[in-house]
């Protein structure tokens, strides 16, 4: 077929003709879209962080005015003293922004977009235009979510989990517009994610370069591929639930309204049936990036490449049958508790496999402790803590006590901040030279890492102890309870650490922006990596590769005895390497 021999040809043939708007705003280039997502979700991350320290202020210094809080309107914080309803909004929106507008787009939107075509040797996504839409749907969703802060009655205040009936009826919270905006924004963002996932899956299946067989795919791509499947299947559940809740609020349906035959627990089942796969959406890509980065910087193949893949498959599969562990105390039939406990505990197995394989990768390596490696190792060290604290909650009788306490808050932050966010710092630093053609400053990077690591642990480690003391989540003023009063000092300590932690992130922002303009120019392959993306210039041109890359081996051939150097790129042809089988490449030119 001459007219459509290369489906990407028409999209890329005339790049020099493209106006600025087509090139950088309404771009169909996966690299530009990835960077657009990067900027958008870094803003989301910053908003989430600001919300966090605002709410932490109230916990650290209950009833005292926030310095500079006078600028907040009277409906949020009269005289700078947070109102309980605003505190609930802060809690809700901190979770919402971090999960939906920071971590998830950073992992999936940014790196899914940027890495998949480059690492599989494709010129772009399978559906570049759809890809553009996925960003241009995510952006209005973000704007809409932010607009909720300015609504009468305030922003959604029923928690990021939006448990019905609290979220279903403005009578219970005083919030009406905010909650509706929240649901709409989540549903719209869901469309963006589904479009993205459809694109990623098609791209990985169909657009791999010759020789890039399934078991030569980097683990980052495996992780993004499996994550896309989770996104594809989990997000529509949330969209459906959000629409039902929206109808409960607007056209008077009764899905979650117990007074009229509805089922409040139905919301929880739907939410967590989405929500637990979502948890893995938020960690699997991080695991993939870290595998790549640890292998690269240990100059050693990934230990147990196949078990890594099978472990991810197991996590993905188990992710669908454990949602009930969020609902042990919810009134769900207790007989189900034991079932969910067993499936939940089983997740410890693939997690352990992955952890030991990362350690195995480092074992007898030749470890370079650069900024990506520091962050990647911190991921492993912190993810382990998050994983182990999960065991406490999985054991149902212990969960009775620590459920809905700060123990779970510590757990989620060890997984999502200690895990995902450190992996993101690693990944951003590692692929920054490819994205922008310049290196991030390594000195600032190291200072940022060590300070973040320190303040992060000072912030979240004591939350375990708060939880063990029985400190409930989401309470505005712990000093109301006698049994929590002895813990006030710890709360204050955590708040101060959290403020320092956020302040430290300014270093990262500074490094990110300054390096963009002034960073040291990066070579094509600054980390001496094997991946296909490092064979093309930094940043890669439109269409990615001057010639079609041909892949001869897996991505982790570091310190191979076959060559002098300690790395062996996937595309480098050695004597005796077979050309990829003709059967695989009927259409190959």
């Amino acid at each position: 077929m001459a007219t459509s021999a290369l489906p990407h040809a028409d999209a890329h043939g005339h790049e020099h003709d493209l106006s600025f708007i087509r090139k950088y705003i309404f771009s169909t280039d996966h690299k530009i879209i990835g960077i657009q997502f990067l900027l958008l979700s870094l803003i989301g991350l910053f908003i989430g962080g600001l919300l966090a320290i605002t709410l932490r202020w109230q916990l650290g210094f209950p009833g005292e005015a926030i310095p500079g809080g006078g600028i907040l309107p009277e409906t949020m914080a009269p005289g700078g003293i947070l109102l309980p309803e605003f505190y609930n909004s802060l809690v809700t929106m901190h979770g919402t922004f971090m999960v939906f507008f920071a971590i998830m787009p950073l992992l999936v939107g940014v790196f899914g977009n940027y890495l998949i075509p480059l690492k599989i040797g494709a010129p772009d996504m399978a559906f570049p235009r759809l890809n553009m839409w996925s960003f241009w749907i995510a952006l209005p969703a973000t704007v809409l979510m932010i607009s909720g802060f300015f609504m009468a009655g305030g922003h959604a205040a029923a928690g990021w989990t939006a448990y019905a009936p609290l979220s279903a009826n403005p009578e219970w919270t005083g919030v009406s517009g905010g909650q509706k905006v929240w649901l709409l924004s989540i549903a719209i963002l869901g469309m963006s994610s589904i479009l993205g996932a459809t694109n990623y899956i098609t791209t990985v299946v169909n657009l791999r370069a010759p020789g890039m067989t399934w078991f030569r795919l980097p683990l980052s791509i495996w992780a993004l591929f499996l994550t896309s499947i989770l996104v594809l299947l989990a997000i529509p559940i949330l969209s459906g639930a959000a629409i039902m809740l929206y109808f409960d609020q607007t056209i008077g349906t009764h899905f979650f309204d117990a007074l009229d035959g509805g089922q409040p627990l139905l919301w929880q089942h739907l939410f967590w049936y989405f929500g637990h796969p979502e948890v893995y959406i938020l960690i699997l890509p991080a695991m993939g990036f870290v595998s790549d980065i640890i292998s690269n910087n240990s100059r050693k193949p990934v230990f147990g490449y196949h078990s890594m893949i099978f472990a991810m498959l197991a996590i993905m599969g188990l992710g669908w049958i454990v949602w009930g562990h969020h609902m042990f105390q919810s009134g769900m039939n207790p007989a189900l508790g034991t079932t969910f406990m067993v499936s939940t505990l089983l997740i410890a197995v693939p997690s352990a496999i992955k952890t030991f394989n990362w350690m195995g990768t480092m074992w007898r390596g030749n470890i370079r402790l650069n900024v990506p490696m520091l962050n990647a190792v911190a991921f492993v060290a912190m993810f382990v803590i998050g994983g182990l604290s999960g065991v406490f909650m999985a054991v149902t009788p212990v969960d009775i006590y620590i459920h809905d306490t700060y123990f779970i808050v510590a757990h989620i932050h060890y997984v999502l901040f200690g895990g995902s966010l450190f992996a993101l710092f690693a990944a951003i630093t590692f692929w920054y030279p490819k994205m922008f053609g310049r290196m991030m400053n390594s000195m600032i990077g190291k200072v940022h890492f060590w300070l973040t690591f320190l303040f992060y642990n000072l912030t979240f480690w004591p939350m375990h102890n708060l939880g063990i003391g029985g400190h409930m989540r989401r309470i505005y003023d712990p000093s109301e309870y006698e049994f929590l009063q002895p813990l006030q000092g710890m709360n204050t300590f955590i708040t101060i650490s959290a403020i320092l932690l956020l302040t430290t992130q300014m270093l990262f922002a500074l490094n990110f922006i300054m390096s963009w303009f002034n960073g040291e120019k990066a070579s094509d392959n600054p980390w001496k990596d094997n991946g296909v993306e490092w064979t093309t210039p930094s940043p890669p041109p439109h269409g990615n590769f001057p010639t079609v890359p041909i892949v001869y081996r897996g991505p982790y051939e570091f310190s191979s005895p076959l060559v002098e150097e300690d790395f062996l790129p996937q595309t480098r042809k050695l004597e005796g390497d077979q050309e990829p089988g003709a059967a695989q490449n009927e259409g190959d030119r």
């Binding site: 009833g63 009277e74 009269p78 209005p140 009468a152 403005p170 005083g174 517009g177 905006v181």
Partner: protein, 249 residues
């Protein structure tokens, strides 16, 4: 084409945001405030109560020590307050006979206080657009949940002593109930009227509605449990009077 769709989407979002946002209540206020008083006559009256006054429920404030200590003995919920045959907390307003507006806005905001875990006053009136200042005089959390049918509901909280919040109502409504979810026994009622010619009977059962020209007016008296009564009064020479009598079960 694509640009158009996006623009349309954005407009739709804005519209959606705008529709729910903003209080929008302030606009009518300025014009009304400028209006001159209609006259200088006034209606005076008293509310009688006959029969056995129902006994008011007691309140279990044991778990709110700061409030309990503001009360002598067992706190009671003053649903029906009768003193020497006179009934307090009746909301009286003019329902007919008024000349066309605009009506003058009261110079002071209406005030309601939460003290000893009770609303003071229990019944009050505000004019549409008039500020209502809600104050917390207790060192603990109260929330103020207005459950109107015509106006926009609100549910706000005051976690600390001395906090004041201002709200307005934009539509006439008899009556807007206020409740506190932290203290289930706390109730108050706000009459929202489009003019300033309303009053609440005091402990002596007396009330006074001032600023009216001579003429004949329809009056309605409302009590939270004893129902509504209507009457008519004529102001001549700047004075008129009316009496209502509510009776117990």
């Amino acid at each position: 084409m694509r640009g158009f769709v996006l623009a349309a989407t954005m407009v739709a979002f804005m519209a959606c945001g705008g529709g729910d946002g903003g209080d929008g209540g302030e606009s009518g206020t300025a014009a009304a405030a400028a209006a001159a008083p209609l006259g200088n006559g006034s209606i005076t009256g008293v509310i009688h109560f006959e029969g056995m006054a129902p006994s008011n429920p007691t309140i279990d404030m044991a778990e709110e020590a700061e409030c309990a200590e503001k009360h002598m003995g067992q706190p009671i919920d003053p649903v029906v307050t009768v003193t020497d045959g006179m009934l307090a907390n009746v909301f009286i307003r003019v329902t007919g006979g008024l000349p066309a507006g605009p009506y003058p806005m009261p110079s002071q905001p209406a005030r309601i206080d939460q003290d000893g875990c009770l609303y003071h006053p229990r019944v009050l009136g505000v004019m549409v657009g008039q500020d209502l200042e809600i104050t917390n005089s207790d060192p603990l959390l109260h929330n103020i949940k207005a459950v109107p049918t015509e106006n926009r509901p609100f549910n706000i909280s005051q976690p600390t002593d001395g906090m004041t919040t201002t709200r307005t109502f934009n539509t006439p409504e008899i009556m807007v109930p206020l409740e506190c979810n932290v203290h289930g026994w706390m109730n108050a009622y706000i009459g929202v009227v489009e003019h300033p010619y309303f009053a609440v009977s005091g402990a002596d059962g007396a009330f006074n509605i001032a600023g009216l020209p001579d003429g004949t007016y329809q009056i309605e008296a409302w009590h939270e449990t004893l129902g509504t009564q209507t009457g008519e009064v004529t102001i001549t020479g700047g004075a008129g009077s009316i009496e209502f009598t509510f009776s117990g079960a």
